[in-house]
Structures are given as structure tokens and as C-alpha cells.
């Protein structure tokens, strides 16, 4: 069962193959507000009593998912990358410690699960679901949406590049970025970065690859000095060919890369510079 919560839920076409039922929940607010979403899903769960409520592990869901589960006395887990029903037991798998260990979590009763985006392919095709409507209670939000703010228009759009040269914490200091800008230009790549360089104020968010940045699908993604935090991987693992260079042999990025090298990014960059 797929639920759509919106001011005008009918406007969104979600009749994908495999969807049995589409439930439309109308709310007064145009844009997402935590209290509104919470009340709407609460009403939905009260009406339909699902075994599991699945949300995406997104900023919006983080805003109300845990509260929802706690309020209803249900189980909760986030960043889940595998779900299964084994007999009566709901089992969800998530990772801890930067992906170095996985854990299987079990839920005897109903649970709210936030699923890691891009773990499953997007839904497609056309199904023939039935439609239903559920009324959500009117809610006056305590946290009201005021406006959206676009990030300042940047001079670069990394989502259209065929070849991205991406740098991360491994570059060490702001002064070192220049050599990679030059290398990228030489190699015919667009320079992109992981979150730490944006947090430090060295690069604009327009170049950030990751959940809170851009999701990219270039033909080639060359990651230098990026360890592979979950949110970063989500933004680039769909790339055609991923090559990663990192001094840490256990870096998570090697898990999604096609080719890897345990080496110093500056040494490799220097050598690449000679070849282009």
C-alpha cells in the first residue's frame, strides 16, 4: 500500500507495477511540516494498522519518523538496507560503525522503518491499484514553513558532467585544492567534493556530491582521498566506473568502487599530472 500525503494527492501519479492500493491523504499545508506529516501518518496507521510503515531515510522523515514510532509504541530503525518478514518476525538490517559491521534487528510488533535511498532501484511500470482516501486531522504546526531558499546559482553543474574528479578530507588543507582543480582541468574532468570540504567553507555546496549535495551519475567517477561516508556514497554509487584512491585499505568507498588503489592521493595526482 502506497500512501500519498499532500495538499493535492491526486496530482502525483504513483500507480507503479506492484502497487496494490494507493491511499490519498489530504492536508491543508502546501509544503512539508513535521507536525502535519506526523498527524497524517498517525491517522493512516490508526486506519489501516500496517505491519510496517516504510519511509525514506530523508531529512523530512528524520523530522517526524522517530516521534511517530515512539508515540504509537512501535519499533523503529533508520538507514535500513534490507527488510524481510520471516514468519511473524519483521527483520531489518542496518549497519553500524561506518558500515564495518551489520546488524539484524527484529521486531515482534509493528515498526516504522526509514529505508536507505538508492538501495533499491526506482519503481517503474504501470500497475492497477485501487484508490482510497483517508482524512487527516487539521493541525496547526508548531514549526511552520516560511520559504525555500535555493542555493546561489553556481557556475557549475556537476550533475551533467561525464567525468568527475572528486576530492575529500584527504586533501588536508585548503591550499592543496588548487592542484586538484588544475589536474581536473587537465584530465578533462569537473571537480567535485565531499561534504567535509563544504563544511570547512573551502568549496561551494554546488560541487558537493552526496545526500545533502547532488546525486551524480557520470561515466567515470575518480575519488581521491574520500573515505566513503554513507551519505556520500548515496550520491555517487550509480556512476558508471568508480575509481577510488585512499591510504586506508578499509575505506568504505572501496566497497562501491570498481577499481581501487591504496596509495597517497598526492603521489597519484602528481603522476597523473605527468600523463595528461
Amino acid at each position: 500500500m502506497l500512501a500519498v500525503i499532500a495538499k493535492d494527492p491526486a496530482a502525483l501519479d504513483v500507480s507503479f507495477a506492484g502497487v496494490d492500493e494507493v491511499v490519498r491523504v489530504s492536508v491543508e499545508q502546501e509544503e512539508f511540516e513535521g507536525d502535519v506529516a506526523l498527524a497524517a501518518v498517525e491517522a493512516l496507521i490508526a486506519a489501516r494498522r500496517p505491519r510496517a510503515t516504510l519511509l525514506g531515510f530523508t531529512v523530512n522523515s528524520m523530522g517526524y519518523g522517530p516521534a511517530l514510532a515512539l508515540r504509537l509504541g512501535q519499533g523503529f530503525a533508520s538507514d535500513v538496507h534490507a527488510v524481510a518478514l520471516e514468519g511473524d518476525t519483521l527483520v531489518a538490517t542496518r549497519s553500524f560503525h561506518g558500515g564495518k559491521v551489520h546488524a539484524e534487528l527484529e521486531f515482534a510488533g509493528p515498526a516504522v522503518l526509514l529505508l536507505r535511498p538508492t538501495t533499491w532501484p526506482p519503481a517503474e511500470g504501470a500497475g492497477s491499484p485501487t484508490f482510497a482516501d483517508v482524512t487527516a486531522p487539521s493541525v496547526a504546526s508548531r514549526a511552520r514553513h516560511v520559504a525555500f531558499q535555493e542555493v546561489a546559482q553556481a557556475d557549475v553543474d556537476i550533475t551533467t558532467a561525464d567525468f568527475l574528479l572528486s576530492i575529500g578530507r584527504g586533501v588536508g588543507e585548503r591550499e592543496n585544492i588548487e592542484q586538484f582543480e588544475e589536474l581536473a582541468a587537465k584530465m578533462g574532468a569537473v571537480l567535485s567534493v565531499s561534504r567535509p570540504l563544504v563544511d570547512a567553507g573551502w568549496m561551494s555546496n554546488a560541487r558537493q556530491v552526496g545526500q545533502s549535495g547532488k546525486t551524480v551519475k557520470p561515466k567515470v567517477y575518480l575519488a581521491l582521498g574520500i573515505s566513503g561516508a554513507v551519505q556520500h556514497l548515496a550520491g555517487m554509487k550509480a556512476a558508471g566506473t568508480i575509481v577510488a584512491v585512499n591510504t586506508d585499505p578499509e575505506a568504505a568507498i572501496f566497497g562501491v568502487a570498481d577499481y581501487g588503489a591504496v596509495a597517497d592521493l598526492f603521489d597519484v595526482a602528481e603522476e597523473l599530472d605527468k600523463l595528461f
Binding site: 588536508g172 588543507e173 585548503r174 591550499e175 570547512a200
Partner: protein
């Protein structure tokens, strides 16, 4: 007639009185100037520098009279200055003798010694030293004006062209030289005129004066003419001399007093044993943030600087174009201290005039402190200012995260503790755990020697050597934390103290006789600084230990290596601890031919990693070479060197890198001392467990 001369011969009584009034005025101005200075110094923090005052004064006297520190690395200037010094001193004493005769011995004691053989000897002596004075001044003027060595160039690396004006200094320098020269010259002319007046024959005992007098007489200047000329010139000379004396506290001439004073209150362990912080110190009082935070002796040292520039010439940061010159640091601080308002309002020195990047450029290598002829302590001053910056959280992000990493993991690599002794896994014998079993030697390995792959090879080599000779040694395994030397030098005093306390606790629980380390930084802090926190043991550097074993006949090289090598003195082993010979004797004992680089021993040129710089971002100017690259150039230019030999893990890291980046790869290779000693033992290579690189090395 008796051989003598009458002072004030030509003067009327009122003129003599007037003269003594001038003396009184000039002396008062001088004394007032000195009082102001003393008041300024007293605004600084207190510290103990007047202990063993007798010994201090004796040593100062010796250093001043032998010019031991002034002569170093520049004998010509040393000689020139010695001439000026002794010339000036003798003439000064000469005048004092005269004053003593005229104002005390004569009128009060009725003794007149200033005649006959005394007078003749006195005259000769003073003439000779007067000439020496002039010769010395000429030598120094030629140095300054014509030869212009780098150290006398007032260019500064931390400001752009046009941002600073050195003309006041240049004027001060030449004025000083000029005034003394003028006094010496007029002194001789006066002598000439005086003698020319009546030409007494005994005055040949003043050779130059006599010569001048004959010259004057030859052109008709004698008798009354000479007397008038003498009179005028005497007053000119007198007024200039008195003005000179009065202005001593305000000009370069001050160094005549402040430099010996600074030498007297110098701490011989300056920089080698930094001061600890009292536990209850307020945040605002940590380090030097204001001009009045400087200890009184550091304020004195600001005035002791003669702008000789030896520190400027020795500093590796200056040589690489980092925004630091130790000379300019001291002189900038001097300018602040000279400003009475600044002292009054306890003005801040951080940021302006001393920029943070200037302080962070320092490698704390002690080249400046080592060579300063007047004993200024640049390194401790910089360290104190760093403490103030760290206290305010103003530092490199890289440095900050390194501190945080060291605090969390106990090492600067961010590696888990259990990996600390991982280097030992490839050995074919068990390393003793000195926490559990007694051992004669406790080996404190150190961060770089433990975690850095290149250095691990040297560490394993040392382990194998010691195992082979049956030495009884053990390590602390994962209880060892970083020694903290560079943490302290970088200004995080609290973190150093915390690391030291933990290490002391761990070590104190062990049963051993002596400690050794292959890391000079660790060796240094354990030996010199840990005692302040209660950890006092005999600490050796591995070069000393290995030499001891060779001299005892325990370690016997199987074959002389026959390599042509050059040796780089690590800063913390050499300048900080005076260990220069042990590594050299060790190299000789394994049959290596040592070729010295131009800058060796106490003049060794820092690799650039010290003082925590290895954890900070590079500051070198665009296109400039790194200090380590400059050093490799120096080694390669010796010609035909097989190996660049290191005795410090950070040196190994820096120089392996520099060999590549300086473009000399293939022309020279690097070996650590232990690796050469191991090679000389000609042991079979390690079993398959060892990395191929080690076996390659041994087969080579």
C-alpha cells in the same frame, strides 16, 4: 720636567666648572635613561635569573673578554669587534684613571701618580688601543657598507616591500659607528694639537699623537695656533662624548650594557627545558599575549639585540621564505616595549605586530638561540606566544585536529593503540613487554618509529641489532603514548603535561635500568622535561647506546661498509642536547667515510618538521624550495655521496620525500643509523614474513 701633562691646561676656572656641570647633566640624563629601562623591565613577569649570581658574573666576564660567542662563524667580525671593544674599554679606563687622579687621588690623597714611567706607559698603551679602535671600526664599516653579508640585510620575509621602513635603523647603525669613529679621530687630533703646542720630547711615547704633531708643526701649526685649535676641538670632542654617554640608553650604544646584562641573566637551558604552567593559572595569563607578559629578562633581551642578523642568517624558516625572521620578531617586540604607552596599557602583541603565521612558521630548531652572541632566547619567547594562541583556539585547523587526535588516540597518526607495536610482527623473535617483565633497557619507541612504514624498517633494524648482541630490552607495547615533545613546542602545554603524566605512570610501573629511544624528540623530552613532572631516569639516544655496545666489544661489525656518507645532525639531538660525536663515531666504527656538509653540528639545517610544523600546513613562498630540499641540495653538492644518514624518524620522513621532490632521486639515498649498523653485521635476511623491501636492502 717630569713626564706628565696637565688636564684642563687651557681652561679658565669657570670653564672647568662649566665642564663638570656638563658632566653632571650628561650623567643624570644617562642615569635617568637607565632608570626608565629598569622600570620597564620590572613591568615584566618575575622569574629566577639571579641565582648563583657570582658564577653568572664570572661567566659573563669570561665570555665578554674572550668574545667567545661573538667570534662564532665569523672570525673577521669577531676580531673587528674585539678591537673596537678593547679600544673603547682601554680609552674609557684611561679617562677614568685621569678623572681619578684629578678629582680624588690628587686633591684628597695628595698622590700624583700620573707622571714619569706611569704616564709614558699610559700614553703608549692608549695610543695603541686607539689605533686598534679605529682599525676595528674600519673593519666593521667595511663589512656593513661594502661586503654587505646577508645577515646585515634588513629585508624581512614577513612583510611586503613598502610595508616597512628600515631607515631609522640604518641611521642608528651608522650614527653609532660614526660617533665613535669621530671621537677616536678627534681624540688623536687633540693629542696631535696638544703635543704640537710645545713638542716635549717624551711625547714620542704617544707614537700616533707624536706623528700628527710633527705633521702639524710641519705645516706651521704650533704654539698658540695649536693651542687654539686644541681648545676648540677639545670642547667639540667633549660635548660629543658627553652627548654620546647621555644618549647611551636611547641608541644602539645601549648594547654595551644590555648585552652583557642579558648574557648574565641567561638561562642555559633556554628552550631545552620549557617552563611548566602552574595548575591554577588563569586563561588570560597563559603564555605571552601582551608585552608585559614577557619575563623581565626577556624584556632585557629585547634591548640586548644588536641587529647583527646571525639568527636571521641561520634560520631555516627565513631561508625558505616563511614569514618569520627571528631578528624581526625580537625587534618588533622591542618597538612595542619601547613605547611607554604600550607598556602602560599592557598592549597585546598577538596579531599586531606579531602575526600568527610568523609564530607558526618556527620549527623550534634553536639555530637562532644557538648562534646569538648576546644570548637572546627567541625559541622560548615564540613558544610562549604559541601557548597564548592555542589558549585562544587560534591555530591551523590541521594542528587543532592533530591535537584532538592525540588526545583521543594517544598518537599523532590517529591509529588505534593496539597497532602501536605492529611493526614488531615481522621480526623473527619476541619483543619483551617491559610492563610485565624486568629488562635492563626500556625502549620508548615513539610515534613515527612505530607507525610510519618507512621508519618501521629502521625500527626493525634496530631491534634486530639489539637482539643479535643479546641486549636485554623491552617495549611498552600499546601502553606507550606519544612523548609529547612537539605538542609542547607547538604550544599545547596542557596536552604535553597530560601525556607526560601518563607516560611517567606507565614507565614508573616497570622494572628497568635505563631508557633509550631512536627518536631524538622523545629522547629530549624524556631526558630534560619529564623530570619536572616527576619522571627522572637515565635516557639515551640509540646512537649513544650502539656506540657503547661497540666500545664494549659486544657489538662487532662483521665487515666495514666502505660507504661515502654524510650525516645530518637532528636539531633535538645536536643543538638541544649536544650529542654530535656519538653518531659520527658510530659511522666510523662501521667503516663509513664521513663527508661533512657545510652546515653541520651546531650549524645543522633543520628538516622543517620540528616544532609541530609537520602537523601544519606549508607556509613556503611560491616557487621557493622547502628546507628539506635545500638540505638535500647541500648534500648532493658534496659529490659522490652514497647515503644521507639520519638519526631521527622525522628526518627520515622529510628527507625521503625531499629526495624525490628536489629532483635528486637516483643521485643519493637515505639510510637511518640502525640500518647501516644492521648491514655491517651481515646477518641473513628475515624469514618470509618480512617485507621484500627489507630483504632487498640487505641484499644490496
Amino acid at each position: 720636567m717630569s713626564e706628565t701633562r696637565q688636564t684642563f691646561e687651557n681652561l679658565a676656572l669657570w670653564q672647568i666648572v662649566f665642564w663638570y656641570c656638563l658632566i653632571a647633566i650628561s650623567t643624570s640624563v644617562f642615569v635617568w635613561g637607565v632608570i626608565r629601562l629598569v622600570r620597564k623591565y620590572r613591568q615584566g613577569r618575575s622569574t629566577t635569573r639571579l641565582d648563583h649570581i657570582g658564577r653568572r658574573l664570572l661567566r659573563t666576564t669570561r665570555l665578554v673578554f674572550t668574545h667567545a660567542w661573538i667570534r662564532r662563524r665569523d672570525t673577521t667580525t669577531g676580531l673587528g669587534h674585539a678591537f673596537v671593544f678593547y679600544g673603547f674599554l682601554v680609552l674609557f679606563i684611561g679617562t677614568a684613571i685621569l678623572g681619578f687622579q684629578d678629582d680624588f687621588a690628587g686633591p684628597v690623597l695628595g698622590v700624583h701618580f700620573f707622571r714619569d714611567w706611569f704616564y709614558l706607559g699610559y700614553s703608549l698603551f692608549l695610543d695603541v688601543f686607539g689605533v686598534a679602535l679605529i682599525v676595528g671600526l674600519v673593519v666593521l664599516a667595511v663589512k656593513r657598507g661594502i661586503l654587505r653579508p646577508f645577515r646585515l640585510d634588513y629585508w624581512r620575509p614577513d612583510r611586503k616591500e613598502g610595508e616597512y621602513d628600515r631607515r631609522p635603523w640604518v641611521i642608528d647603525d651608522w650614527a653609532f659607528l660614526g660617533v665613535i669613529f669621530f671621537l677616536a679621530l678627534t681624540g688623536f687630533l687633540l693629542e696631535g694639537f696638544r703635543i704640537a703646542e710645545t713638542n716635549p720630547s717624551f711625547e714620542t711615547w704617544s707614537p700616533l699623537g707624536w706623528g700628527l704633531a710633527q705633521g702639524f708643526r710641519a705645516i706651521g701649526v704650533q704654539g698658540q695656533t695649536a693651542e687654539s685649535a686644541h681648545f676648540v676641538l677639545w670642547w667639540v670632542h667633549g660635548v660629543v662624548a658627553l652627548s654620546f654617554v647621555a644618549t647611551i640608553p636611547y641608541t644602539k650604544a645601549l648594547h654595551m650594557l644590555s648585552s652583557p646584562a642579558n648574557v648574565a641573566v641567561r638561562d642555559d637551558r633556554a628552550g631545552k627545558r620549557l617552563p611548566t604552567l602552574p595548575a591554577d593559572v588563569k586563561s588570560d595569563d597563559v603564555g605571552y599575549a601582551r608585552i608585559t607578559d614577557l619575563t623581565w629578562n626577556h624584556l632585557v633581551s629585547l634591548d640586548a639585540c644588536t641587529k647583527c642578523g646571525k639568527c636571521h642568517a641561520a634560520c631555516p624558516a627565513t631561508a625558505t621564505g616563511y614569514p618569520l625572521s627571528p631578528r624581526d620578531l625580537i625587534l618588533d617586540l622591542r618597538d612595542v616595549a619601547a613605547d611607554a604607552d604600550a607598556m602602560q596599557e599592557r598592549r597585546s602583541i598577538l596579531g599586531d605586530p606579531i602575526r600568527p603565521e610568523t609564530l607558526w612558521s618556527c620549527m623550534q630548531c634553536m639555530a637562532c638561540v644557538e648562534i646569538c652572541p648576546v644570548g637572546i632566547e627567541h625559541v622560548p619567547i615564540i613558544n610562549q606566544m604559541r601557548r597564548a594562541l592555542v589558549e585562544r583556539g587560534e591555530m591551523d585547523t590541521l594542528l587543532q585536529s592533530t591535537f584532538e587526535m592525540i588526545h583521543t588516540s594517544g598518537n599523532s597518526f590517529g591509529e588505534p593503540k593496539r597497532k602501536r607495536a605492529r611493526w614488531a610482527k615481522e621480526l623473527d623473535f619476541e619483543l619483551k613487554d617491559v610492563r610485565k617483565e624486568p629488562a635492563e633497557l626500556l625502549w620508548f619507541v615513539g610515534d613515527y618509529a612505530s607507525f610510519d612504514p618507512r621508519n618501521q624498517r629502521a625500527t626493525r633494524a634496530l631491534a634486530r641489532v639489539l637482539d643479535h648482541v643479546g641486549a636485554d630490552f623491552g617495549i611498552l607495547w600499546d601502553a606507550e603514548k606519544t612523548g609529547g615533545c612537539d605538542v609542547r613546542l607547538a604550544g599545547e602545554e596542557g596536552l604535553w603535561a597530560s601525556l607526560a603524566e601518563e607516560n611517567i605512570r606507565t614507565i614508573s610501573g616497570c622494572d628497568f635500568e635505563r631508557i633509550f629511544s631512536s627518536d631524538p624528540h622523545t629522547f629530549h623530552t624524556l631526558r630534560n622535561e619529564y623530570p619536572d613532572l616527576g619522571g627522572s631516569w637515565t635516557v639515551l639516544h640509540h646512537s649513544q647506546l650502539l656506540l657503547e655496545l661497540i666500545e664494549a666489544g659486544t657489538l662487532v661489525p662483521a665487515k666495514p661498509l666502505g660507504y661515502r656518507v654524510t650525516y645530518h645532525d637532528p636539531c633535538t639531538l645536536g643543538r638541544y642536547n649536544g650529542v654530535y660525536d656519538a653518531p659520527r663515531q658510530l659511522l666510523a666504527a662501521v667503516g663509513c667515510e664521513l663527508v661533512e656538509m657545510p652546515r653541520n653540528r651546531d650549524n645543522s639545517f633543520c628538516c622543517g618538521a620540528g616544532g609541530g610544523r609537520i602537523w601544519m600546513k606549508e607556509l613556503k613562498a611560491e616557487g621557493a624550495k622547502r628546507p628539506s630540499e635545500l638540505r638535500i641540495d647541500e648534500a648532493v653538492s658534496l659529490g659522490g655521496i652514497d647515503y644521507f644518514v639520519c638519526a631521527c624518524p622525522k628526518d627520515v620522513t622529510m628527507y625521503e620525500d625531499a629526495i624525490k621532490t628536489s629532483g635528486h632521486q637516483g643521485e643519493i639515498e637515505l639510510r637511518e643509523l640502525s640500518e647501516l649498523v644492521l648491514e655491517s653485521l651481515d646477518l641473513p635476511p628475515l624469514a618470509a614474513v618480512g617485507g621484500p623491501s627489507e630483504n632487498e636492502e640487505e641484499a644490496a
